[in-house]
């Protein structure tokens, strides 16, 4: 990695972290468990690195370690997205929402 690449990488890292904070701050405590399982699935993007390693054809060590890494990340991709959706499916409002309560809802959710 050259100095220039490092600089760009650090910029991306810092800005993405700020973006992450900004976006996640707005997620209510109600959804913190789905949040964790979703970010879990997202960070299983290390699958990309594992695929490149496992497919590089650079010898047995690279292939074996890479394949195990592919297996581990793929498990997270599949289970992470599936369980997040399964949890979110269960969240529902009162079946017959009373009118005065409906108007208060967005405010309560924001906290």
């Amino acid at each position: 990695m050259t100095q220039e690449q490092l600089e760009v990488g650090l910029y991306i890292f810092v800005l993405a972290s700020f973006l992450g904070f900004a976006v996640v701050t707005r997620i209510p405590g109600l959804l913190h468990t789905p949040l964790m399982s979703l970010t879990n699935a997202i960070s299983a993007i290390s699958l990309v690195g594992s695929l490149i390693l496992a497919g590089s054809g650079e010898g047995t060590v690279a292939t074996v370690l890479g394949a195990v890494a592919v297996f581990a990340s793929m498990t997270n991709v599949v289970s992470g997205f599936l369980i997040t959706d399964r949890m979110l499916k269960m969240f529902h409002r009162r079946s017959a929402p009373k009118k005065p309560r409906r108007s208060r809802q967005p405010e309560e959710m924001a906290r």
Binding site: F21, I27, L30, L31, T33, L38, S43, S46, L88
Partner: protein, 464 residues
């Protein structure tokens, strides 16, 4: 596929991940968020597989298929009570992947690793392996395979810090000269041991913080992998996960009024019972009386704690809420951030039991309403409703935000026995004049209250 196209696809998938988190901010858009995240992931995988750098597909395909076979039941069959364990397990899988890729990259590139790349690689491997074993221990504790009580001994902090320092020194030596490849296994071993040492000393009450912190580490190690491989998508996705985990751990620490240092090095709940618990009289009540009291209320605030989840009482609680609502009583659920074993866990358990999310309130929303509540019904919660946290500076939970159930006109506490909570301290709430104890297994006792309520004659319910 040209590298420009590949780069653009990665950019699109990074944008998908950001949108996924953005849409997760409300239950009505959250599932769209998941879909978007899936699309981002799929695009990245396909683009990577079509990339000319990949020349060998056989093992990749086998690993992808095996991963899907293991991942599907982990996603579809794991019960909601076991979500914290599953989460810990997936942190350990993610971190293992980062550690393994880092290891292989080291041996492939070792003579000509630059200082910068080696630093990132060192951190990737250190974070990866320590999160791997740390999360496995967390999984064991949550699953009940490993002792839940904190494992503490004299000189533990000194030893742990020395191990961590040793790991950082090894990284430093490798950065100075990547040719010292004999040091690399030492780094791996140190990281693996440190992960175990870090988490065995953590007790059940601190699991929400630790699991969030491990989430953050797993993200950071993926981000470091991005630096090693020069892959911006990995840097971004890892940073999103890392910041999210960090934010959650900060929220959890605040919910217990504790610092990171205190969680990691303090050994909360390790000391057992603090001070002596004097025998004081409590008022106990019966399911029948409870039913009458609840039926006469206008507003009931239910405070479920981990004990309610452990007793599988959430479905009975929802039945209670339904029958009360049908009789014109307004029921609200007050959820403390550390009510479950991970952030937001109690909300998921209640949602699974069919409690609508607009009936669930967090601390800031419910506390101003408690003085208007006729009855506060505490089920399996203890430390998070202890008024001592507000006024007794000597108490270990002093300053912790609590649900102010003592502000309600009357309080009913459903509890198995007079045993103290995680913090090992006595609960002043139980001895208040307006508090009545309803002893018994939460599921069974709440069930009896529901039966009593259904025996009551129908009530004229004023239209809302």
């Amino acid at each position: 596929m040209s590298s420009l196209v590949l780069g653009l696809v990665y950019l699109v998938s990074a944008a998908c991940f950001v949108l996924a988190l953005k849409w997760l901010s409300h239950p009505t858009t959250a599932r769209r968020g998941v879909k978007t995240g899936e699309i981002g992931m799929l695009l990245a995988i396909i683009a990577t597989l079509l990339n000319q750098q990949i020349i060998e597909y056989r093992w990749i395909l086998i690993a992808l298929v095996l991963g899907s076979i293991v991942g599907t039941p982990l996603g579809l069959l794991v019960p909601m009570t076991a979500v914290p364990q599953r989460t810990a397990l997936s942190h350990s899988f993610g971190a293992l992947a980062a550690g393994l890729v880092g290891t292989a990259e080291f041996y492939l590139q070792k003579p000509d690793l630059g200082g910068v790349t080696m630093t990132a690689l060192g951190l990737e491997v250190l974070l990866g392996y320590l999160t791997f074993t740390g999360s496995l221990i967390a999984f064991g504790k949550l699953q009940g395979v490993v002792r839940d009580r904190p494992f503490v001994y004299r000189g533990q902090n000194l030893l742990n810090l020395s191990i961590l320092a040793a790991g950082l020194v090894v990284v430093g030596l490798l950065v100075a000269d990547p040719g010292r490849s004999t040091l690399f296994p030492v780094l791996i071993a140190v990281a693996l041991v440190f992960g175990v040492m870090l988490v065995i000393r953590i007790g059940g009450a601190d699991m929400p913080t630790v699991i969030s912190l491990l989430n953050s580490y797993a993200g950071l190690s993926a981000s470091m992998m991005g630096f090693v491989l020069g892959n911006e998508l990995l840097i971004i996705a890892g940073a999103l996960d890392g910041s999210s985990g960090l934010l959650l751990s900060i929220i959890m620490c605040r919910a217990m009024n504790r610092s990171f240092a205190n969680v990691l090095f303090g050994g909360f709940g390790a000391k057992g019972t603090l001070g002596q618990i004097e025998e004081r009289a409590v008022r106990s009540t019966s399911p029948e009386e409870t039913a009458f009291l609840l039926d006469g209320a206008r507003l009931v605030v239910v405070v479920p704690g981990y004990g309610a989840a452990a007793a599988q009482a959430q479905h009975k609680i929802r039945e209670l809420s339904d029958i009360l609502m049908a009789r014109g009583v307004e029921v609200r659920f007050a959820i403390h951030p550390v009510a479950g074993r991970m952030p937001g866990h109690m909300n998921v358990l209640l949602a699974e039991a069919n409690v609508p999310y607009d009936q669930m309130f967090d601390l800031e929303a419910i506390n101003p309403e408690l003085p208007q509540a006729d009855v506060a019904l505490v089920v399996g919660a203890n430390d998070v409703v202890n008024p001592v946290a507000r006024h007794d500076q000597r108490s270990p939970i002093y300053g912790m935000p609590i649900v102010d159930v003592d502000q309600a006109r009357s309080t009913i506490v459903v509890k198995r026995s007079m045993r103290s909570g995680f913090a090992g301290i006595d609960n002043e709430l139980f001895y208040l004049d307006k508090t009545q104890m309803l002893f018994g297994d939460a599921k069974q006792v709440i069930g009896q209250v529901v039966d009593e309520l259904s025996k009551l004659p129908a009530k004229e319910v004023a239209p809302a």
